[in-house]
């Protein structure tokens, strides 16, 4: 059986995580490459196939929004891991901690003293006009002054080999269950490598999560629950997985009632008080009394109980304002303002269409830029200039002119690539990186991540809803 060889592997034009520009294997991939080269393509395909089956049997499936109910997909897991060396990771960790600390201070400020607005670091209208800014929270401080307990930032690595933060995701970042289950699966695929490579473990995530949630209240044995929109939500697997791993009840809005501004769940033995809710329901849907009146996913009165301090919501409502892509552009200044430090993890250069000179630039250079709608996510509402038609570009220009506040643009970044199994061969595919952070007593970055991979050749859209897959991410101890 012929063994795998990488002589035809193409690294031109992109940063490759496994090979340097001279086709030499990077140090962090050395052992893995040795292992890989002992395999035949056929054996590799067999291992990949076993992985697909394992995912089905674990029930790691999701429904895509546009699909009819009942169509389930797995998030394809490519078995070639993304491997990150120790020093590279340490830098990443510091950068994320800095960013989250600053953003938390920022959120507390804009709902309270608004110093950052008074000092004109960021235009007042930009914050107050954001659809994610919740006026109802003005003057409110959450328990322990923490707003963004759980973060899953999206990072990319450019052609220069540097990480950039693409999105901060302070609302309900998903995917952490894939990080955890991918690891379990890969441990079965390459058991001997884990022994030799000294990969940092991720298994304690759910323990740390539970500790983080409990740390928010001064109650002995608080009742912690996970709140899900229900079984048809695309991330339901994750909601039930986290609840089960934490030993918490998995509730839907209809399982909760609010009486005298206290939150209770309806059990077989009557009502039971709830102290902390890790809610995976968006702000707009958590309470039909205050927000979306038609929401059936929430619980009437929940927000009232929250404002009175009778229940903790995680993440806090109102954090979405940071996910506004126009606010993103100001984050370097936000970090400087609150911490007096320079940003460790850079942003991608961002043009704000709401600012006249930027807007002009965007319209003139739209064919070279990636244009994004400020309040959209999941790869929707986006134009990739170099890959778009003239007609599509014109449509976006019209939209930008009509509502400049709703658009930003960024230069096209050549996302780094990792070797990936494709049609009986191995080719480079573009990836991003989503590490997870927990903010309780301190800010902890879990040493691992969900690496999302654009499976289609040449594609840079890694979102699971648009043909993306995933990879396990190994952070090495040395």
């Amino acid at each position: 059986m012929p063994k795998l060889n990488f002589s035809a592997y193409d690294t031109k034009g992109f940063y490759d995580e496994m090979f340097d520009e001279n086709q030499n294997i990077r140090p962090n991939y050395q052992l893995f490459a040795e292992r890989l080269q002992k395999l035949s393509q056929k054996k590799l395909n067999t291992l990949q196939h076993a992985t697909d089956r394992a995912q089905l049997s674990l029930g790691m499936t999701f429904n895509v929004y546009s699909d009819n109910q009942g169509i389930e997909r797995i998030l394809h897991l490519d078995i070639i891991p993304r491997i990150i060396g120790n020093s590279e990771w340490n830098q990443l960790e510091k950068g994320l901690q800095q960013r989250i600390k600053a953003l938390n201070l920022f959120i507390q400020d804009i709902y309270n003293d608004q110093k950052v607005l008074k000092d004109k670091i960021i235009p007042k209208e930009m914050i107050l006009s954001s659809v994610s800014y919740l006026k109802e929270l003005e003057g409110f401080k959450p328990p322990k002054d923490i707003w963004c307990h759980i973060t899953g930032s999206d990072l990319i690595k450019g052609g220069d080999g540097k990480y950039y933060v693409l999105e901060d995701n302070l609302r309900c970042p998903s995917g952490v269950s894939y990080m955890l289950e991918n690891r379990e699966i890969l441990k079965r695929t390459f058991p001997e490598l884990f022994e030799k490579l000294d990969v940092k473990p991720v298994y304690n995530y759910t323990h740390t999560l539970r500790d983080t949630l409990e740390s928010l209240v001064d109650i002995d044995k608080p009742t912690v629950v996970v709140m899900t929109p229900g079984i048809y939500n695309s991330a339901y697997f994750e909601h039930s997985y986290l609840a089960q791993q934490m030993g918490a009840a998995l509730v839907e809005g209809r399982d909760l009632v609010v009486k005298n501004d206290m939150v209770y769940m309806i059990t077989t033995h009557g009502l039971q008080r709830v102290d902390v809710i890790y809610r995976r329901v968006d702000d707009d849907f958590i309470d039909p009394e205050v927000f979306n009146k038609k929401s059936l996913l929430g619980t009437p009165g929940l927000f009232r109980a929250y404002l009175k301090g009778h229940v903790v919501l995680v993440n806090a409502p109102g954090t979405g304002v940071v996910d506004d892509k126009a606010v993103y552009a100001y984050i370097p200044r936000i970090i400087k303002y609150y911490l007096g430090e320079d940003m460790i993890l850079p942003n991608v250069k961002t043009y704000i269409c709401d600012e006249e000179s930027d807007c002009k630039y965007v319209i003139e250079n739209i064919h070279n830029l990636v244009v994004k709608q400020t309040d959209a996510s999941g790869g929707y509402g986006m134009l990739i200039g170099p890959k778009s038609t003239k007609k599509e570009q014109q449509e976006f220009i019209t939209k930008i002119k009509a509502k400049p506040r709703n658009y930003i643009a960024q230069p096209m970044i050549n996302l780094s690539r990792v070797p990936t199994i494709a049609d009986n061969t191995i080719e480079g595919r573009h990836v991003d990186l989503r590490p997870y952070a927990l903010y309780g007593d301190s800010i902890k970055i879990i040493p691992g991540a969900l690496t999302r991979v654009a499976l289609e050749k040449g594609s840079i859209v890694v979102n699971s809803s648009q043909g993306g897959g995933s990879k396990d991410t190994w952070v090495l101890n040395s």
């Binding site: 029930g59 039930s240 209809r254 399982d255 309806i266 077989t268 009502l271």
Partner: protein
Amino acid sequence: MLGRVANTIYWMNRYLERAENYARFMDVNYNLSLELPPDEVAQWQPLVLITGDWELFTSLYPKVEKNKVIYFLTFDKNNPNSILNCISSARENARAVRAEITKEVWEQINALYYLVKNSAVKKNQTDKQLRLFFTDIKNGCQLVYGMYYATISRNEGWHFAKLGQLIERADKTSRVLDAKYHFLLKSPKLIGSSLDLIQWAALLKSVSAYDMYRKKYGKLTPSGIAEFLILDTEFPRSILACLLSAERCLVSLSGSSVGFSNNAQKQLGVLKSQLEYVDINDIIAQGMHEYLDHIQLKLNAISSAIYNSFFSITPYVQESSQSQKQ
């Protein structure tokens, strides 16, 4: 435990038990049909009658044919109680209570789902393939029970799961007996013949009761069989044995072992007592069909009472309970 979750667990187990029973009915019937004169209606109609979905069947299919009956009970999406739909519902429910069950149980239910789903799309399956499929379903369900038994704590969820299984099992035993008993007694020509014996034996096998019955009674007699399936206290699929086990679950859930502390306990206690103080001659004198019909109605009433006592105990929740149409 959340009321909604308890309800979901209860039904997850009812669906599994139902699917397993259907698979067994069909497998036994297949076996039986090999030994009987080729009369499709006589052989396959009782199967549909047992399930209580005769009306639905006749609305979908003009006449009773073997293949139609098998399809209806196995893969028909229009039949809410087909094996396909039961296993799908059991899995949906398992998914909804994933946090309450173990990885072992979930993965086995999930595997069952893929077994049915993949089999449902195969065209022109042979009798041999189908019988293998029924065996796989039976084994698959029993694997779930085994994993449940071996990995789940005896907590509230356990008792609700058990309740669902026992109520469903009692219901199915009563239905099998009802449909077959009549059918067999109605054909007097056959009484005492070898064909007759095969059919009575098949009735017992439909509820996995043949071996234990033979051990206890030796001879196959209609009244002996009826007595065994209704009143035996040791055989786990007899109606009374199911009720006795269910009663213990309700005691654990309610915390009172004397009298009753909710309507579910009361209704179940009444039916159980009736069976404890009746003998088979009374039942035959009263009319077997009427008696079994009464039992089925009472079982439904118990199921509703469980719903009202545990799953929907505040005016805040309004949710319709899942149920099987009678």
